[in-house]
Amino acid sequence: MVSAAYATKLLADLGAEVIKVERPGFGDASRHYGPFPGDEPDPENSGLFLYLNMNKLGITLDPCSDGGKGILKGLVSSADILVQNYAPPVAGEMGLCYPDLQETNPDLIMLSLSPYGGTGPYRDYKGYEINAASLGGVVMHLGLPERSPLNPPQMLGHYQVAVTGAMAVMIALVTRDLGGTGQHIDLAEADSWATFHAGVGIVQWLFGLRTTIRHGRRVRGGPYPNTILPCKDGEIRMQAMTKREWNRILEMMGDPEWGRDARFQDRLKMHELYADELDGYIGAWLKERTKGELSQLFYEYGVPFTPVNTIADFVNDPHLAAREFFVEMEHQRAGMMKYPGKPYQFSETPWEVRRPAPLLGEHNADVYCGLLGYDSRQLVKLRQSAVI
């Protein structure tokens, strides 16, 4: 729904020809997820699907049908990369098994995304995003003490594993460029959280630096401050790691008396022993100012604090507008719509929007006739027998 689709979107945005294969009739689950304009469900108008599948061609195929198996083989032999996120037992049933596919195409790079991975004692266990985030540990960072840990919002785990997956695909692709062959990549959503995101915590715990997490506003450990405090009209996220930054904070606040207090010179101790008192001083100063005023002050003084934005602040941000981060695109059903855009800008090669997300089966004729060489009569037959 999200993970495989986002991984291939990252490749499509950089120019790859991505053919999205969907189930005949129903299509990708994200077509049914929404959000929908006016909250009216329409599989051709789901915001999540439209975002994740721009720049792709779309075909329908039932790979488990008799005719479908041969078609899958044809598609695989023409592809550089195959991405799928079916649970390991299901992927096998569908014929998405690397050793078999590699016989068809020895240079094939195949990425398999799953909650727990294709090996290990939990490989056949059932899992959704919240379960992968639990095993990966990230839920223990989120929420309030004494209350339940929280699942990351916005299906972040699916996006996260997609980015890690696209990165692994690029590693495999460059490996192949340098003389290697194709290979299979097994990537678990839980592992993606447990390593890059929560992995540093293992040594910290083992050496007694940080044993507990999830303290509400404040992040424990490290130098003061690392917290969120309210201002006049919202919340401010505050983290400063270096002495230089701390000095700039004091300067911005008009060099207050307490800043020279002998207790407040070692910021590790300040965080451990005096954080409440210091939050009181800074909090009182913040309370008198709005997010807008503070943003300007933080920027002028080079203080690494930021306002806690809403999604509206994010979408309407003038800095992102100047960088043309959001992109606009016309879609048959949804009309002109704004989407999150480029995560990076290349000086010589494009990141570009070429086409909106496909309607269900929109490119069947192009792909089946143009790429695989079927004639229109065969296409009708495939459609009638529900293979496509």
Partner: protein, 405 residues
């Protein structure tokens, strides 16, 4: 040992703190020769912090640094010196990829931005990945990984909807995510260079990288003007879907039930308690409507049990359940162990330490953690002497002048 796929790639690494450093370690794990440039004049914040052994500050004891700089070499150069700049130019001339995440004008001030480096190496690929990118009205914005989450709305959406206090999204999303986007970009540029010989510059912003992950909330705002609010563990259509208390101190288990088939399996696994047969829990729509009452029943069932016992009971029935693991829990978890999520690496100061492993399992070229994170200046002799051909005398002189410092 099997040769690694990227042994022909050399990376010049100005990445510091977290995001910038991850880029280099990912390439190092695959065999790239990554030369990290640091200076005692301005110590990497990831080398600072409370020492683990003794009381005096020691740049060799920070676990963050050890994780995100494994497999690299380290040289010390003060780039504010003209001679330091020349040394870096020489290094850039023999490198394939340059990585940095300083504020936008820092390298330009030292004459080491892309425009200058491409003069000594037209094929070089350079990735810059600070918070706000290279241009735009807020391009000098300072902030750490948490700031990216605040800017894109993660804090406003990730808080606890039923708590007494605002807690935000206190997981650092910015660094570990944006750095992986950086690797994608660097390798895409490298792939392009192999075919065309053309180098290029990549302007990556941590803010934007995390912003691309806000799909549903952005689209709902664009389509319906709705401003996303915290949902906690509520799911759009799954119920039960949540994190429930278990036996022990701060022990929890997550459970998610999607289809009717899963609900029936869940009910049987619990030995069919009478509440599970009530009309208000009979189908997905009803369960979502009465999720609070449902959660209450589920929590009552889990609270007497060990989290692993809940997992085994439910998974046996085909229902998704998983313990919520803190550091200790993850370190001892048999599945994460089987998948080498944490790998013991010998460090000369701290001894054996479990660094995070490589999550993507490449069947042909899996890569490996080649060595511990470097000691400050550990590879000055090799890099300046062998790679750049600097004489011992010149090297000593530049060290005394605090250029190689």
């Amino acid at each position: 040992m099997q040769p690694l796929p990227f042994e022909r790639i050399r990376v010049l690494d100005f990445g510091w703190v977290w995001a910038g450093a991850v880029l280099g370690h990912v390439l190092a794990d695959m065999g790239a020769e990554v030369i990290k440039v640091e200076s005692r004049r301005r110590l990497d914040p990831a080398r600072q912090g409370r020492p683990i052994i003794g009381d005096t500050p020691d740049p060799e004891q920070n676990p963050l640094y050890h994780n995100v700089n494994r497999g690299k070499m380290c040289v010390t150069v003060d780039i504010s010196h003209a001679e330091g700049r020349r040394v870096v130019e020489q290094l850039a001339s023999i490198s394939d990829i340059v990585v940095e995440n300083m504020s936008p004008h820092a390298l330009a001030a030292a004459g080491l931005d892309y425009q200058n480096l491409r003069r000594v190496n037209p094929q070089v690929i350079m990735v810059s990945c600070p918070l706000a990118g290279q241009y735009g009205p807020r391009n000098e914005l300072r902030g750490y990984g948490n700031a990216a989450g605040a800017l894109v709305g993660l804090d406003s959406i990730g808080a606890d909807p039923d708590g007494d206090e605002f807690c935000g999204f206190n997981h650092v999303q910015g660094d570990p995510s944006s750095s992986q986007y950086g690797v994608i970009a660097a390798l895409a540029a490298f792939h392009h260079r192999l075919r065309t010989g053309e180098g290029q510059y990549i302007d990556l912003s941590m803010w934007e990288a995390v912003g691309t992950m806000m799909g549903v909330a952005t689209m709902d705002y664009v389509m319906n003007g709705r401003i996303a609010a915290p949902q906690g563990n509520r799911h759009a259509f799954m119920a039960p879907h949540g994190i429930y208390p278990c036996q022990g101190d701060d022990m929890w288990v997550s459970i998610a039930v999607s289809t009717q088939e899963e609900w029936e399996a869940f009910r049987s696994a619990l030995d069919s308690p009478s509440w599970a047969w009530e009309e208000r829990f009979s189908d997905g729509y009803q369960r979502a409507l009465h999720r609070r009452e449902l959660d209450h029943h589920v929590a009552q069932w889990t609270s007497g049990m060990d989290a692993y016992e809940v997992m085994e009971t439910l998974q046996r029935a085909g229902v998704a359940a998983m313990p919520c693991l803190n550091q200790e829990g993850r370190y001892f978890n048999p599945h994460l162990q089987a998948r080498a999520a944490y790998v013991d690496v010998e460090h000369p100061v701290l001894g054996t330490e479990p660094l995070y492993g490589i999550p993507y399992k490449l069947s042909g070229t899996p890569g490996r953690i080649r060595r511990h994170a470097p000691i400050m200046g550990e590879h000055n002799d090799y890099v300046f002497g062998e790679l750049l051909g600097l004489s011992a005398e010149d090297s000593r002189y530049l060290t005394e002048q605090k250029v190689l410092y």
